[in-house]
Amino acid sequence: MSQSLRGKLALITGSGRGIGRAIALKLASEGADIIVNFFRHREAAERTAKDIEAMGVKTEVIKANVGDPAKINEIFDTIAHDFGYLDIFINNAASGVGRPVMEVDLKAWEWTMDINARALLLCAQRAAKLMEGRGGKIVSISSLGSFLVLPGYASVGVSKAALEALTRYLAIELAPKNICVNVVAASAVETEALKIYIKEQSGLGKTKDPRQITPAGRMVTPEDVANVVAFLCGEEAFMIRGQTIIVDGGTSIATPSLLGKEQSS
């Protein structure tokens, strides 16, 4: 296996489970040391850390809600103290409240924006300082909801759009520091979060099972997303800046007549 990230240090927010865990394992398999961040599920985070350690790289677990600026500072203070540098920052942690736009109240809006969009701003500002003089990679995880209207996804979709726009500004302003900033946007990925979303929305009769509407014939997996993130963290992606790379098995470009058909196996 390639060890192209040997000696690099990566922080992945929300990496105890789902897409974050897959990214953490992928970057570790490429040789990177990994900071696992979690908010609510310590057991999952410690399992991820244990699996990373088994790959022979260093790992550390940090609990923090990235929606809280003070906790973001704690994360980066810890990294600055324990390592003094950072090479890769993956802005993966996300949250949201599944409601139609007319039912999104101030609390739900701020909660979602703070975790999904503001965290990138505050984390990137701190991460860039730890990448000073050595360059780095910043990759955020977005979704098709940043430009498609999905049921009950208003606040999350808008937060992801903000994240993608902020990425373009970061990409240009951090380019002189040799920091590459990009986004990977996935369609529905088979995770616990998706199960909750489908359960919430199918009760309202508003969403189809994504497995039936993916032209590539299967759902996107966390590993599909992790593979693209790992590519963006490598030197071969050096000239890709401020882009949103879509990983969706063709869903977002297929016309409605192509969607919803049974896939041949």
């Binding site: 609510r40 599920h41 310590r42 057991e43 609990k63 809600n65 409240v97 609390k107 739900a108 909660w111």
Partner: protein, 81 residues
Amino acid sequence: MSIEEQIRNIVADIVHCDKSIITRESTFKDIKADSLDIVQALVAVEDKFGIEIPDEEAQKFQSFGDFIAYVENHVGQEGKV
């Protein structure tokens, strides 16, 4: 102020309800708390008492009595009073 009283104040503040309706027997559903209210209450209580309440544990709470008991049992062991 007792731990129970402090938790009732925190939850009432987050859910915007009268704290008199928060008893040891009541549930988050009884006080019309949504999933975001619950997470915010857990986080606020963690920060207040310097303890950790993993979701795996929180999901076992049947009532505020269970929530309060968990905090009472962990404050002092791992947190601040």
